[in-house]
């Protein structure tokens, strides 16, 4: 084995069919600090979906890149994100996870803001003197915010280019939001869990087709035992770099999709409802797109930390970086607004058993990610993560099959290095 520069973030040598990422990228606190500055301090970050706050005064609180944020629909019907910090003494004004309020009174000194962010009441206002104006002291907006198809993002840098940033990922949000004629919505409730691993491990886990068979053998056994038809292989596989580090892979799986593909494990009544969904999709969107939504799964990663798996269920998932070796994960279910209860039950079963942190698959992903993180402690003596799979086929002009390429991981880490603006660790601190 060649001796590589131990300070390199990435060693890419396509002619040698080799692409290596330095394990220090997952374990070095100085590099983590740079990521917070160059990636989480500058890129577009997901906050929430506007179906979570349908009515004026509806709100949710979120933590984005460590900042407490309030996502609230104003009396004017517009959903906005505010920094959840009082303009007086800095306290988090809203201390609830979700709810509906016309007014947000700060508990500390009693300043009151309305759901349009205006400061409406200041105890002892006169003592601030004649130059004090409540109109100047409303809740502060993050430097940038924008929505696409209800997916609301903020940036801690000044920018106005969300659609350009989403690049090829935007069309996958378009596809997702056409799944139901009645629209899509976030189901109330969230999975709030964590993994003792670096935040990059989660998006990489999603786009890593190689892990599926070794990690999720028991889930496939569950599907077989419940009566799913498991003879067909993964079909119509397609993977792409969508620009700016966003990636997708799309395929038809042998198992069913409540969004439009029946499964022999489900009752005739449920399968009839799923076939009706499929027919509706084909009629509304045409044979190509309708069939694509009904039949194929899509795993989408929007750089840096938004994951949308439109698979056996549909999840919106975010990895919040807390420290170099710990991330908090929040996941929501995104579903048709009009599912009848029996179909909703099947959809929930799909979601909980595969995507849920109490299911038959996600705890195994966590085990793999945490085991990797423990192994990364050896980064000085054993520095390299090997993402070389599939380069040989790419160089030969051939295509790769599912589970036979690290193409998407290479796209993710190439973008990561570009955003960081360095290629050696000596420059990180």
């Amino acid at each position: 084995m060649h001796k590589h520069d131990p300070d390199a973030l990435i060693v890419s040598a396509p002619q040698a069919h080799s692409y290596l990422v330095n394990k220090r990228a997952f374990a070095d606190p100085a590099l983590f600090a740079r990521e917070l500055q160059e990636i989480y301090g500058k890129l577009w970050l997901y906050v929430g979906h506007d179906t979570e706050i349908p009515k004026p005064g509806d709100f949710v609180t979120r933590t984005v890149a460590g900042r407490p944020m309030l996502y609230v629909r104003g009396a004017d019907g517009v959903a906005r994100v505010y920094l959840n910090t009082c303009t007086h003494n800095g306290a988090t004004v809203c201390r609830e996870e979700f709810g509906n309020r016309k007014h947000f009174p700060c508990a500390y000194h009693g300043w009151v803001f309305d759901c349009d962010g205006r400061l409406v009441e200041v105890p002892g206002e006169a003592a601030f003197g004649p130059q004090f104006h409540k109109a100047d002291q409303g809740m502060i907006l993050p430097p940038s915010q924008a929505s696409y198809r209800g997916f609301t993002f903020v940036s801690l840098a000044k920018r106005d280019d969300l659609v350009d940033y989403l690049a090829g990922a935007a069309q996958y949000l378009d596809i997702l939001c056409q799944t139901s004629a009645a629209g899509m919505r976030v189901l109330p409730g969230s999975h709030q869990y964590a993994t003792r691993a670096n935040w990059k491990m989660l998006p990489v886990n999603v786009i890593d087709g190689n892990h599926f068979m070794p990690t999720h053998v028991t889930y496939l056994q569950y599907l077989r035992e419940r009566g799913s038809e498991m003879k067909e292989p993964i079909r119509d596989f397609h993977e792409a770099h969508l620009g700016n580090g966003h990636t997708v892979f799309e395929y038809e799986a042998p198992w069913g999709r409540p969004q439009g593909k029946p499964d022999p494990a489900w009752s005739d009544a449920v399968n009839a409802q799923i076939l009706a969904r499929r027919e509706e999709l084909l009629g509304r969107l045409g044979a190509d797109l309708g069939d694509r939504i009904a039949r194929r799964n899509r795993n989408l990663v929007i750089f840096p930390n938004l994951i949308i798996n439109d698979i056996m269920g549909t999840t919106i998932r975010v990895a919040e970086p807390i420290s170099v070796d710990y991330m908090e994960i929040t996941a929501w279910q995104f579903c048709p607004a009009d599912d009848p209860p029996e179909l909703a039950r099947v959809r929930n079963e799909q979601f909980l058993t595969f995507l849920g942190p109490g299911g038959f698959a996600t705890p195994d992903d966590t085990e793999g990610m945490e085991a990797s993180q423990r192994g990364f402690a050896c980064y000085r003596e054993a520095p390299w993560v090997n993402y070389s799979k599939g380069i040989a086929a790419e160089m030969a002009g051939g295509y790769t099959r599912p589970g036979e390429s690290d193409f998407m991981m290479r796209a993710f880490f190439n973008a990561w290095q570009e955003y960081l603006g360095i290629d050696r660790f000596a420059e990180a601190s």
């Binding site: 964590a194 993994t195 039950r345 909980l352 849920g356 996600t362 966590t366």
Partner: protein, 162 residues
């Protein structure tokens, strides 16, 4: 299958047995504590009183799913619990709330100390149980664990039965 004769002593012994069978990994015997119609449920921590159709749950197992959950613990590729965690459960604050629709409503508090990879984690919450007498023994019709925790943040995921 009347439930009005189930005593507090029987309930406390039943819950101690549930904990003991889980802590000693006698999972096939533990499955016998359930009626075939039973559900094992864990609501999401931000919707503890939500219903499992209209809100997101962490776990909503019918008997078939529960049987597979138990089976998975003994499969070599059930990675999340290979090797098995060491657990010790404490169950207390047992209250009998009376009979409703043919089953006895019971609540109790739990604290589960789980050691895995040298790390001690704690799961804490309350049980919202529905018990009935079936085939001569007390069994669960509902075993719902409502976590009193900031999500699963302190513990990662929920790979064990809680």
């Amino acid at each position: 299958m009347s439930t009005h004769d189930i005593t507090r002593t029987e309930v406390e012994e039943f819950l101690a047995r549930d904990a003991w069978l889980l802590d000693t990994w006698q999972l096939d015997a533990w499955l016998q504590l359930f009626t075939p119609d039973a559900r094992y449920q864990v609501p999401s921590t931000d919707r503890p009183a939500g219903d499992p159709v209209g809100s997101l749950y962490l776990v909503d197992d019918d008997h078939r799913q529960l049987c597979f959950r138990v089976k998975r613990f003994n499969l070599p590729q059930g990675h999340a619990e290979q090797p098995h965690s060491v657990t010790q459960r404490l169950v207390t604050n047992v209250l009998l709330h009376g009979e409703r629709d043919g089953a006895l409503d019971v609540t109790a508090a739990f604290l589960i100390a789980r050691t895995r990879h040298g790390v001690l984690d704690q799961f804490v919450g309350r049980y919202e149980l529905r018990l009935m007498r079936s085939d001569g023994a007390i069994r669960f019709l509902q075993r719902r664990s409502v976590l009193a925790m900031p999500g699963l943040r302190p513990v990662g995921t929920v790979g064990i039965i809680v």
